[in-house]
Amino acid sequence: MFIKLFKYSIRDVARSKWLLLYGLFFLLLTEFLIWFSSDTSRAVVSLLNVIIIIIPLVSIIFGTIYTYNSREFVELLLSQPISRKSLYHSIYLGLTIPLVMAYLIGIAIPLIIQTDIDISILLIILVSGIALTFIFVGIAFTMALSFDDKVKGMGFSFIIWLSLSLIYDASILLLIWLLGDYPLESALIIVSSANPIDLSRIMVMLKFDVAALMGYTGAIFQRFFGGLTGIIYSISVLLIWIVALYFIGRIKFNRKNF
């Protein structure tokens, strides 16, 4: 049953013009940056700056709108003998997988064909992009299920995006400024890696700005994130986010009185 629903859901999402536009945007952006940057490393850093803003934003908006729009379809299906679990899976995966595919095609193809990019850097970019899509679709899903009012749901999704991508960093800077006299390094590692957007940024930064990070404070970050434990830690944090949001969404979906 799940397969059938999943196929339907994917077909429905893939028909959307927005998805095509999303993939095309990444393709053009990557092409543009490769062409106009003097070297690959700067192109990748610029690319990353756009990715960590655009992926969460698009995932959250697209996810919320889609969930609200498919509400009647969900109600119809739930009147049939279909388990809520397989319906949830088909909608959640049907939403994330086309977004992930569009991202992968848009980013990976130009980078692999036209640059001599290091495989570890490519992996970091791809993994963080995929993780961000899953996390923010999860947030959108949860928000859309929590509020029946479309405007309210959209508003809260947007506020969450804004907090994680802007306000969070602003608070960290404030924290540093206020508590600058204390040794903050380990606390900063924990606080900043708790945010998936910051975590993706830090992972790429460690690859490209090693020289700058060799100063005393930077070396602490470098030592933590650069090693194997750092990689395992980063991936675990991303996985915890994905799994937690998946379960929250599932509980909400199961309990929801449509």
């Binding site: 003097s38 070297d39 490393s41 700067r42 850093v45 990353l48 700056n49 960590i52 803003i53 991508s165 802007l166 960093d169 602003a170 960290i172 800077l173 540093i176 400024w177 600058g180 903050l184 390094e185 900063l188 590692i189 900043s192 910051d198 940024r201 830090i202 790429v204 930064m205 700005d209 090693v210 020289a211 700058a212 990070l213 060799m214 100063g215 005393y216 404070t217 930077g218 070396a219 970050f221």
Partner: protein
């Protein structure tokens, strides 16, 4: 024909007579008397040839102008006693092709493989030094040459290690084509004048690849400094010129490609600084001319403190550095013109190759992170970028006077 023959005979005679005047003394490892006896026996101008083998000897004192040549792998191992392996206390000594090993480390004496005191016109050439405490140590020497030596150390801490080539109160030196690895300082100069340091390769030294203290009028060219604590430190000196050197991969919390402290009147031309934590760090340095240098992929290309005055930066390339210029002052008394900055985003309407909008290379974030180093974790953050834009429009924290008024649109290639 006959004339030619006579000529040849005459020449042969001349060579023989030279040999008669300047004797050759051979030393073999089996001779019990050792190198010191041969040195004592020799007269001024004699040549001592040390044959292949291992000589466990120390404190060989040379008091005449001799030529000492190693034939094959002549190893002199100094581990048997405290002290330098060779002491030279005479003028015009030529030491060539020897292999020195294991000099005793002490905290009291500066033991070295080759030590010259009050010597003039000496040449030290193509020697190999392994685990010398100090490699080649010269005090109060004039007019000498140090060529093509390979010096390897086993330094672990700064306080327990010596320098590769150490010059103290010397004048007119040529130091060329040496390879120096893992000492405290690769080449150290204190109260030296008119030294010419060329084509050396200095790497993995704990402190500096090349270190000037109170040394005026020195030049160094085409050297390569890699993975040292700091590439080159020039301190309390004037008229030091630096050309065509390379500073690579000097990484660490206080690691610089080039550290300039209290120096003045020098030229820094055509050097390449890449992948250093800080490319150039300058403090109290005045009237320096930076021209056609490449700063590539450094953490900070240039850290210039507020007490630097009248320095000129022209036609340099600043490419893909994390931070281009950092400073601790709101004023700048140095001048930046016609440099290429890869971070420049301005335009060039009249197409003369010079950007129409001045470029300020000091970013808000470089100011913030030099006050609070922990803020470095926010590098490339979206929030920081928004702040940067705001700061560009209304500068409040970055120095307004530190600006390149004529930034170049294209990179300068030599």
């Amino acid at each position: 024909m006959i004339l030619k023959l006579i000529n040849i005979i005459f020449c042969l005679c001349l060579i023989n007579s030279v040999e008669l005047i300047a004797g050759i003394i051979y030393v073999n490892p089996k001779d019990n008397s050792g190198i010191q006896t041969a040195v004592d026996k020799a007269k001024d101008g004699d040549t001592i040839i040390i044959n292949k083998g291992v000589y466990k000897q120390n404190s060989i004192v040379i008091k005449r102008n001799l030529t000492v040549i190693g034939k094959g792998e002549a190893i002199i191992d100094g581990s048997i006693a405290d002290g330098s392996i060779i002491y030279v206390e005479s003028t015009k000594v030529h030491i060539k092709g020897l292999f020195f090993k294991n000099v005793k480390r002490t905290a009291i004496k500066d033991n070295a493989a080759i030590r010259l005191n009050n010597s003039e016109g000496s040449v030290i050439e193509n020697n190999k030094i392994l685990n010398g405490f100090f490699g080649i140590y010269l005090a109060r020497c004039n007019d000498f040459k140090i060529f093509g030596n390979k010096i390897y150390g086993y330094s672990k801490t700064e306080s327990s290690s010596g320098n590769g080539i150490h010059l103290f109160r010397c004048t007119t030196a040529v130091i060329k084509d040496n390879y120096i690895e893992n000492h405290r300082d690769g080449i150290y100069l204190e109260f030296v004048s008119k030294a010419n340091i060329m084509q050396n390769h200095s790497l993995l030294n704990l402190r500096y690849g090349l270190h000037f203290m109170f040394s005026d009028g020195c030049d160094y060219e085409r050297n390569k400094f890699e993975r040292n604590g700091a590439g080159v430190a020039v301190m309390y000196s004037k008229n030091v010129n630096m050309r065509n050197n390379q500073f690579h991969n000097n990484w660490g919390s206080s690691a610089y490609g080039l550290l300039l402290k209290d120096i003045r009147d020098g030229e820094i031309i055509n050097n390449k600084f890449d992948n250093n934590t800080v490319g150039v760090y300058m403090e109290g340095s005045n009237r320096l001319d930076f021209k056609r240098n490449d700063f590539i992929k450094n953490g900070w290309a240039l850290k210039i403190m507020g007490n630097c005055v009248d320095n000129h930066f022209n036609q340099n390339n600043f490419i893909s550095n994390t931070f281009e210029v950092a400073t601790n002052s709101k004023q700048s008394y140095s001048y930046f013109d016609n440099n290429y900055w890869s971070g420049y985003t301005g335009y060039d309407i009249n197409r003369d190759g010079i950007g129409d909008v001045p470029y300020s290379p000091v970013t808000l974030f470089s100011v913030v992170s030099s006050n609070n180093p922990e803020a470095l974790i926010l590098l490339h953050s979206f929030f920081i970028q928004i702040l940067e834009v705001a700061e560009k429009v209304f500068p409040s924290l970055t120095p307004e006077t530190l600006k390149d008024k004529k930034p170049l649109m294209k990179r300068i290639n030599d």
